[in-house]
Symmetry: D2
Subunit: 461 residues, 4 copies
C-alpha cells in the first residue's frame, strides 16, 4: 500500500516535479496541532457511532495524543516528502499503532479536513490578535495618561490647524483599534461553524454525528450544506480584509510618529532601543521599526489581493487552487502579530519632547477658529466671521504682526465686535478648553475618555 492517501488507480507514478510542485507540507505543517485535535474528535465520534470498532477508536485517539505530545515537545518529525500535513500525521499514526490507523480517514476527506484545520487555527489566532490589540491600546492609554496635560499643535493637510491634547490624539488610535477588534470578533463568529462531515463535498452514507464533533472541538454551529462547506473560503478573505484595515491604521500611526520624531517636528523621541543606525553616517538614529510597520501594509494588502484573485471565477466545490490560500493567511497573521508585539514596547518607551512642543504653540493661527466662534457668540454669522478673521489673518501675515498685538482700534477695523478681550483666548490652554463638545479635545472630555477606556480595557481581561 502506498504511503499516499490515493494512487491505486494510477497506472504510473507521479513525476518528482509533480510531488514537489503540489506538496503543501512546507506551510501547512503549521496546522499540525489542529489537524491532530480534529482527528481525535473525529476518531472518538467514529467509535461512539460504531462506524469503527470502539477499540480501534481508542487506539487511534491514544496514538494521536502521543503524536500531539511529541509535537508539543518539538519531537514531531515533519516529513517534507509527505504530500501534506494530513498524510504526514497519518503516516506517523501508522508507525505508532499499525493497521487501525487505516480507519481514521473514514467518513472524511481532506477537503473538509483542511477547512476544519484552518477554521480552528483562525479562531485561535483571532483571540491572540485581539489580546495583542488590547495590550497595545493599554500601552497607548498609559502614554496618554502620563501626558494628559500636554497640548500639541494639531494638523489637517499636514498644515498647522488647531491645538489639541496629545492624549486626545492618542485616544483616537484606541477608538480605531477597538473597531478592529470588533471586526475580528465578527469574523470569528462567522468562522465558528464546523465543516467536518461534508467529506469530499456531498456528505456521507455513514452514520456520523457532526454535532458531537462540534461540541468536542468547541464550535458553535455545524455547516448546513456540504458543497458550501468545502468551497467556502470567505472566512479567510474576511480576516485578511480585517487585517488590511488594521495594517492601514498601524501605517498611519507609524507615519504620525515618524513625522513627530523628525528634527523638524521634534514632538517625540523614539527610544534608542527601538531605533537603528547607519553603516555610513555615524550620527544617524533612524525610526526603522516604524518605517517597516508603515511598509507592511503592502504585504497584508498583497496577501488579501492574492486570495481574492485566487478565488475569482473558481467553479463551486473543491479545486486545488484553494491550497494557495494558506501562505498569504499565515503571512498576514504573523506579520500583524509581529507589528503589534513591537509597537507595544515602542509606545511604552516614547519620550515626549515637552519643551519643543511648547515652543510650537506660539503660532496664533492655531486660534483662528476660536476667534471665529467668539464672533459667532456675539451674533455674527459664521460666514461673515470667517471672512473677518480671514482678512485679519491675511493682514497680520502680510505686515508681520501678531493678532495679540493689535490695538482696540486696529481690531475695530475688522469688526466692531472684535475687542481686546480676544487676547484671553489666544493661548493653547484656553483654546483646548473651549472644545467642550462631546468627543472634543477639552481637558474635561479627554480625562473622562481616559477613565472610560481604563475601565473598558481592564474589563477585557
Amino acid at each position: 500500500m502506498s504511503n499516499r492517501l490515493w494512487g491505486t488507480r494510477f497506472s504510473k507514478k507521479t513525476s518528482a516535479l509533480t510531488d514537489k510542485f503540489t506538496s503543501s507540507i512546507s506551510f501547512d505543517k503549521r496546522l499540525a496541532e489542529y489537524d491532530i485535535l480534529g482527528s481525535i474528535a473525529h476518531a472518538k465520534m467514529l467509535g461512539k457511532q460504531k462506524i469503527i470498532p470502539k477499540g480501534d477508536s481508542n487506539l487511534i485517539v491514544k496514538g494521536l495524543r502521543s503524536i500531539l505530545s511529541d509535537l508539543k515537545k518539538g519531537k514531531f518529525k515533519f516529513d517534507l516528502k509527505a504530500e501534506d500535513i494530513h498524510s504526514n500525521i497519518q503516516d506517523l499514526l501508522f508507525k505508532k499503532i499499525g493497521k487501525p490507523a487505516f480507519k481514521l480517514h473514514t467518513a472524511r476527506s481532506r477537503n473538509d479536513q483542511i477547512a476544519l484545520d484552518i477554521k480552528m487555527y483562525l479562531k485561535d489566532e483571532i483571540d491572540n490578535l485581539s489580546e495583542l490589540i488590547t495590550e497595545m491600546q493599554g500601552a497607548i492609554l498609559r502614554l496618554a495618561g502620563r501626558n494628559s496635560k500636554i497640548i500639541i499643535p494639531g494638523y489637517t493637510h499636514l498644515q498647522v490647524a488647531q491645538c489639541v491634547l496629545l492624549a486626545h490624539h492618542l485616544l483616537s488610535y484606541i477608538e480605531g483599534l477597538e473597531r478592529d477588534k470588533g471586526r475580528l470578533f465578527d469574523a470569528k463568529k462567522r468562522a465558528d461553524v464546523l465543516p467536518l462531515g461534508a467529506c469530499a463535498f456531498s456528505g456521507t452514507g455513514l452514520p456520523i454525528d457532526r454535532g458531537f464533533v462540534a461540541v468536542e472541538l468547541g464550535f458553535k454551529n455545524v455547516t448546513a450544506n456540504s458543497i458550501d462547506s468545502v468551497s467556502d473560503r470567505d472566512f479567510i478573505i474576511e480576516v485578511l480584509a480585517d487585517l488590511s484595515i488594521l495594517s492601514v491604521r498601524l501605517s498611519r500611526m507609524a507615519e504620525d510618529l515618524i513625522l513627530w520624531s523628525t528634527k523638524e517636528f521634534s514632538f517625540i523621541d523614539i527610544d534608542f532601543s527601538f531605533c537603528t543606525g547607519s553603516s555610513i553616517m555615524p550620527h544617524k538614529k533612524n525610526p526603522d521599526i516604524l518605517e517597516l510597520i508603515r511598509g507592511s501594509v503592502g504585504k497584508i494588502q498583497g496577501d488579501l489581493s492574492s486570495v481574492l484573485i485566487l478565488m475569482k471565477g473558481l467553479p463551486s466545490s473543491y479545486n486545488r487552487d484553494l491550497q494557495l490560500d494558506k501562505p498569504p493567511l499565515f503571512d498576514a497573521i504573523d506579520t500583524v502579530k509581529d507589528m503589534l508585539e513591537i509597537f507595544i514596547p515602542l509606545f511604552e518607551n516614547i519620550i515626549i519632547e515637552k519643551e519643543a512642543i511648547v515652543a510650537k504653540l506660539n503660532d496664533e493661527s492655531l486660534f483662528s477658529v476660536d476667534i471665529v466662534e467668539y464672533l459667532i457668540k456675539k451674533g455674527i454669522s459664521y460666514r461673515e466671521a470667517h471672512d473677518i478673521i480671514g482678512r485679519m489673518v491675511k493682514d497680520c501675515l502680510d505686515k508681520g504682526k501678531k493678532i495679540s498685538d493689535l490695538s482696540a482700534q486696529e481690531l475695530k477695523i475688522y469688526s466692531p465686535k472684535l475687542k481686546p478681550d480676544i487676547r484671553k483666548i489666544l493661548n493653547a490652554q484656553a483654546s483646548v478648553n473651549l472644545k467642550k463638545s462631546y468627543g472634543g479635545t477639552s481637558f474635561n472630555s479627554v480625562s473622562k475618555q481616559i477613565k472610560n477606556w481604563s475601565k473598558r480595557l481592564r474589563d477585557t481581561f
Copy 2:
C-alpha cells in the same frame, strides 16, 4: 464675499486648473440628499441650542426642504463650477433665503459633514443591497424548489466526482449569500455612529447637542473622539471588502452557469432574453451577462485596493487624499447592485436540460465512494477499501468494462466482501439518498433545507 466657503485670506485666485483638479462635485453630487437631510438636522439643533436665532434656523430648514423637494423632482441645479456638493447646496440656500444661509455652516466643517454624508449613504445602500441579496436568494430557492428531484453529476477539480441534487448545489449559493448579508449587517452596525460635531477635527466651543442630531438622523451612536471622526474611513473599506467577497461569490456562480450552459456540459439553457449574439457568427448565443459578472470582480477588487492604498500611511486627521474614497465606493455599490438586479431574472429564467443531465449519470465512477462505504460498513478499513476500489476502477477502465457487469467471481478477486448486491447502489437515486449526514445531499436533507430557507427568507420581508 466669494461663493466659496473660504478664500478671504488668499492673496491670489486659485488657478482654473486647480479648481478643476480639486473639484468633487462631479461625483459627490450623488450625496445631495444626505447632505441636505444632515443640514436640516444640524440647523434644527443650532436653533434649539440658541447658537443661531430660532427664526434663522426655521428659515434655513424651510429653505433646505424646498431644495430637497427640487432635488426629488429633478429640478436641482448641479453647478459643476461649485467646489463640492456642500458649496453647491450652500449657494442654492443663499439664493432661496438670503443672508441667514450664512449661519448654516456654524459649528461644522466639511470634514465632519462629508463623513456624515457618506455614512448616511452607506447605511441606506447596505439596506438596498441586503434586500437585493434576499431577492436573489429567493430566485435561487424557487429554481431549486421547481427542480427538487434533479440529480446532477457533481465535480471536484472540474472532474466528475459524485452525484448531488441540483437543489443541493443551488442551496450552497444561498448559504454563502446569507453570510454576505451578515457581513454587511455588521458593517452597518459599525457605520451607524454620528461623526457630525467633530468639526475640523477638534470639536467646537459652541454648545452643540450631538445626541439630538443623532436621533434626528436615526444614528444609534455618536463618535467619542473628534480626531478619529474625521480620519476614519474604515467603514468604507469594510464595505468594499464585503462587496469583494460577494463579487467573488457571484463570479463563481457565473462560472458554474457558464460551464453548465456550454454545449459540452448542457445542464442548463440560459434564456434568449439574457444572452447576446455575434456580429460575425449568426449561430451564436453567448452568456455575456454571466461573463460580465465574472469579470466584475476585477472592478470591485480594484475599488477596494484603491481605497486601501489611498489610506496607507496618511497622517491622522483630515487630508485631501480622502476625497478619492468616494468614486470607488460608488462604483462598487452600483456595480454590485446591477449584478444582483440582473442575476435575479436570469435565475428565474434558467431552463434545466433534464435529458442531457440524465445521460451524464451513467458514469459509474460517480459511485466509487458509495462502494468504498459499502465495504467500510462490512468492517473493512477505509484505507483498504479505497485501495480495493481503486484497483477495481483501474481494471474496469483498462478493460473497458462496467462495474455493474462484473460477475460475483470477478468481484471476489478484489475482496470477498464485494457481492453482486453492490449493483443496487450503482445508480444516482440510491447514491444521493445514501448521503443522509447533516448537510449532505439526500432528498430528505435537501427538502428540509428548502423548507427551512423558504421560512427564513419569507421572514426577512
Copy 3:
C-alpha cells in the same frame, strides 16, 4: 432588419435589463474617432481587394469621413441605446449612405475591431503622455536651474542625513521620469501590431490585405496569429503597470513637496493659485493638489489590479469579460494626464524659502560623513573612523557641544589624526563640493547634469 449586428437567430428579444447591463457605449464612445479611422482603412481595403464593389467602398469611405467630420465638430449623436460604439457608427453610416453600409462589416468581427480601436487609442495616448512627461521634466529642470546654488539638508529615513543641492534632488525626479517614458515607449512598440483581420478569432476566407490596412493606419506590424489577436490584452496591462510606476513616482514627489511646505520644514511655498483653504479655519492654506496626487496611486493601481483580475483564468480567444478592460484604462490615462498637467504649473510656481533653508544647515551632524572620510584619507580604516566619529557625535550631543567648538586637545581624545582643520569642512558648501564622484551632489557634477538634461529635453521636441 434589427438595428443590431446580430439577433436573427434569436427567438425572443433580449430583456431591457440585458441591453443596459451589456451596453458599453457609455464608455467606448471615446473610441469613436479610432473606430471610424479603422473602418475607413478597412473599407478602402475591401474595395481594393474587390471583396466589395469599388463604388460601395468609396461611398462608405465618404460616409465615414462625413461622420468623422461631425464628430470633430461635436455633432456626432451618441446613441446610448446602441449596444456599443461600433453599432452606433454603423447606424449613422446607414442613415448617411443607405444599404451599402451593410457591406462595411465584411471580413471583420467586433472582436478584432475593438482590439484595433484600443491599440490606436493607446498609441496616441502614449505619445500624449510622453510629451507631458517631457514638459514636466522641463518645468523641474527650470526650477533646478533657477536655484542651482541652493543647498538643502538631505534626509534618509526622514532623519537629517547630509547636505545636497536642491537641484540635485530635483534632477533625481527627472531621471525617474525618463525611465517612465522609456517604459511607455517600449509598451507602444509592443502595441504597434495590427490585429484587424483576425475576425472572430480564426481569420477569414475572403481575400483581405492586412498589410495594406497596417500601412494606412500607421502600424509597424501585423499580428501573426488570429486567436492571439483577439485574446490578447497584454498591451493594456503593460501600460497600466507603467502608469502605476509613474503614479508611485508622482506620489513620492508630492510627499516630498507636502513635507517641504509644512511650517516645520519650510523649504518651499506652494503658490496660492495651487492651494485651497478651509471652510472652518480662516488661516488655512492647504496643499490639496499634492494630496490628491499622492492619493491617486490608489486609483491607478486599482485600475491595474482590476484588469489583471479580469484576465485571470479566462479561456483563450474572446470572452465578454474583456469589455471591462476599457473603463480602468481610460480612467488611468485620464488621471495621469490630469496629474501631469497640473504638476507642471505647480512646479513652475514653487517659491524656494531660502532663508528658512539656510537656517537648517547649521546642524553639524550633516557633516559626519565628511569627517569620517577626512579620517579615511588619513589612512584610518572606514570602520574605525565610523566608530571614532560616532563617539564624538555622542559626546557632543550628551554635553550639548558643537563639533566646531572642540579644541585640538579635545579632538585628540577621539583620534590623533583629528585636527582643528576639520572645521573647514564643517559647512554646507564644502560638504556638497566634496562629493565629486560621478552622480554625486557637487556643484560641478550637478551643473553638468543640468546642461546635459537641457540638451536632451530640447532634443525631444
Copy 4:
C-alpha cells in the same frame, strides 16, 4: 567594536525585539553571491584608486573569494543573528583576514550596496526566466508539430464558434510568451545601470571609479544621480508587472487545459505523472498542477501590489520600508520559475484524444461563418448574409434539421444564391482551409508559422 556596522553613537543597546523585527538575513541571504561579487569589484577599485592600500585590497579580494568558494560548496555559515547579509559577510571576512576587513565598506553604504545586489540578482534571473520561457515555447511547438493536422472546435464565450487547427491554438500561446520575453528583456535593459557609488544618497568625497566597477560587474551603464540611485525600485516593480502578465497568460493556458481535460470536453488527457488523486474517491485523476498554476496569479499579483503599495508616498532617498521589496520579488520569481519548469514536461506529455475531438466536429454551426462568406462572395452584403444564415440556423435548430440535409428548394427559401454546393464547405477540413488570411488557421498558414517558430526558437539558443 560592535559586530554591527553602526551603533557607537547609541547610548543603549537595541531591544532584542528590534533586532528580530528589523533583521533581513532570513531572506536577503539569497543575495550572498551577488553581495560578495559586488564587494570584490568594489575592493579592487578601492585598491586601484589608492583609497585603501593595494595590499589590503588584495587581502580583501582573496578573503571574499574564499567566502564565495565556501558559499558555492554549501559551507557558508548564515548567521541569523546578523542584521543582514552584508553584515554577515563582513563578519566572515573579518574572521578570515582580520582588520583589513574594516576597509571594505569604504565609500559605500548599504543603501547603494543593496540596490546593486538586487540588480545583479535580477539580471541573472531575467536570463533564467527567458531561457525557461523559450524551453516552454519549444515544448508547445513540438506538441503542435506532432499534431499539425488535428482540427478542434474553437470557442468564443466558451460557446462553440468555428473550427481551428489545434496547432494554431497552441501557436497563440507561443506568440504571447514571446511578448513576455520582450518585456523582460526591456526590464533588464533598464536595470542594467550600476548604482554603487551613490553611497548613502549623495555620493562621496573619496576618488572612486564607478566606471571600473561597472565593467568588472558587467553593467552597461552607471546611474547619473545618487539620490535616484538609492530611491529607485522601478526595476523591481517592472519585473513584477511583467511576471504578473506572464502569470495571467499561464493561468489562461491552464484554464484551457483544465477544460479540455474534463470528461465533457475530452480533447486531451494529462499524463498520470502530472495528476494527483483523491483521498476519498478512488476513481479520481485530477489536474492539480494546472489548478495550482491557475491560482498562482494571485500570488504574483499580490507580490506586485505589495511593492506598489510599499512605495506609495515614500519620501525620496532611502527609507527602511524598502527592505520589504525583496520577499515579494523572490517569491514571484521562484513561483514563476516553478510554474514554467513543470509546465514544460506537462506539455511534453499531453495526449491528444483524437477520436473524441473528431466526434465534436459534426456540429454544423461551426460552419455558419463559412456560409456567410459563401454568400458574400456571391455579392450579397455581409449584413444580409448574416441575417439569411441566422434565419436558416434558427429554423434548423427549431425543426431539428441539419443544414446539409436541406434540399435545393429549401435553401432557396432563404436566398436564391444558396445552392446545394454549400455542402462542400460543411466540413472541418474545408472550413479550416478557407481561412487563408495572414494569421488565419489554414493548414498552409499554420505550417508556415510552425516552421518560422522552429527557426526562431532554435536561433535563441
